[in-house]
Symmetry: C2
Subunit: 247 residues, 2 copies
Amino acid sequence: MNPSLYILKIGGKVLENDVKLENSLKVFSKMEGAKILIHGGGKKASEFCQKMDIIPKMVEGRRITDAATLEVVAMVYAGLINKKIVSQLQSYDCDAIGLSGADGNVIQAIKRPVKTIDYGFAGDIKNINKQLIINILNQNLTLVFCSLTHDKKGQLLNTNADTIATSIATALVDNFEVQLQFQFEKKGVLKNPKDDDSYFKKIDADDYIIYKQTGIITDGMIPKLDNAFAAKAQGVKKVCIAETEII
Amino acid sequence: MNPSLYILKIGGKVLENDVKLENSLKVFSKMEGAKILIHGGGKKASEFCQKMDIIPKMVEGRRITDAATLEVVAMVYAGLINKKIVSQLQSYDCDAIGLSGADGNVIQAIKRPVKTIDYGFAGDIKNINKQLIINILNQNLTLVFCSLTHDKKGQLLNTNADTIATSIATALVDNFEVQLQFQFEKKGVLKNPKDDDSYFKKIDADDYIIYKQTGIITDGMIPKLDNAFAAKAQGVKKVCIAETEII
C-alpha cells in the first residue's frame, strides 16, 4: 500500500486571523506522515494593494492580475504569508519548506489566454513536477506551497490555490494514499448559510447537482466543490471541504 | 577532491537594475557545477517602506528592523526578489529553488541582543543546516537564498546577505571546493572611488590593514572585506569582491 499523504489547503478568513491560523497550523504540524500545505492570500494582497494605491480588480470573484498587482501577490503570497507559515511550523517542530511554483519548476503554468475577459497574469496549470515533490517529502520535509506559479519563460503567474491543491493531490495519487482537505472559515458546506452548524456531513455528485439546482449551494462554494469532486474523481482517496466529506 | 561549488552574492545596485541583474543571472546560470546565489534587497525594501509610509530607520549603515519593516523585508526579499530571480533562472534552464533561512530550518539565527543599539528583528546566525543544502544541491538544484532567517521559535529575522554568504560558504568547505564571489555595482575594490577601473586585482590581509589605515578603503567596503577575509581564513578556496581577489 502507498504511504499516506495529507494535503491541506488553507484559505479564506483562516489566513486573516492569527489565532485561527495558529490553531490550524498546530493541528497540521501534529499530523502523522507526509504533509503538504497550500495557501492563498487574496484578501491580504487586496489590503496591501490598497496601501500602495493599487485598486484591486475583480471579475466574477476572480482577481484580474495586472503587473502591479502581480508584484503585490508575489510579495504577499511567497514572502509574507509563506514565510510566516513556515517559521510557525518550524516552531512546532514541523520541518517545513515553503515554495512557489517557480521553485524547482514545481508548478509550470501558462498565462490564461484572453477570451472575453483578460485575467492578466493569471496562470493555468500545465504541469506538476511530482518527482521533486516526492524527493522533498522523502527527506521528511513538509511542503508549504503558495499560489504563485510561473511559465518557465521568466514570468510569474497568479494561480487559484484551490486549483493548485487539486492538481498536486491528483498528480500524486499513484504514489500516495492522498487525503485532501480544503479549510476555510466555515465548518463545512452549509445547508443554511446563516447557520454555521448546518453543514453537510457528506455530499455525493448526485446530491451536488440537486443542491445547485435548488439553490442550496451557490456562489463561492461552487468552484470549491467542483475542485473537490474533480480530485475525488481522479483518485484522491478522501476529499473534504472543512468537515464535509465528498463521497 | 571535493566537487566545486560556486557561491555568488548579488547586492547593491545590481538588484535595482533589470538589465544588470539579467546579465548577472545569465552568466550565473551558465556556470558549471553546484551553485548557490544569495541576494539582499535593502534598497527595494526601503522603496516599498516609503510606499507604505513606513520610514526606514538606519544606524551606521545598518537597517533597524521594526515589526512593520520586517513585514516589508519578508515580502520584498522572500517574495518579490527571490521569486523573480528563481523564475528568471528557470527561464535560462537553471533549475533554481529559492529559500529563506526558515525553510527547512536552513539558517537559524538569534535576535541580536540589545546593547547600545536595538536593531529590532535583526538576526545573528547561529547554525547552518548544511545537510539540507547538500541534499538539495545533490538533486542538481541551484539554491537561491534571500537574506531572511528565523529563530526556530516562529520569529523571522533580517540578516545581512554578505554574512549569510560567508556563513554558507564556510559551512561547506569540508564538502566542496568553495568559490565565493560578492558582486555589486563596482568592478572590484577601488583604489580611487572616482575611477571605476582602478580596482585592485588582488588584496592580502597585510595590504588590507594598510589600505584601511591610509583611508584608501573606507566605509561600506570594510564589512564586505571583513566578510571576505573571514571566508578565506576559514577555508573558502577562492574569494572575490567582484573582480578583486582576496589572497
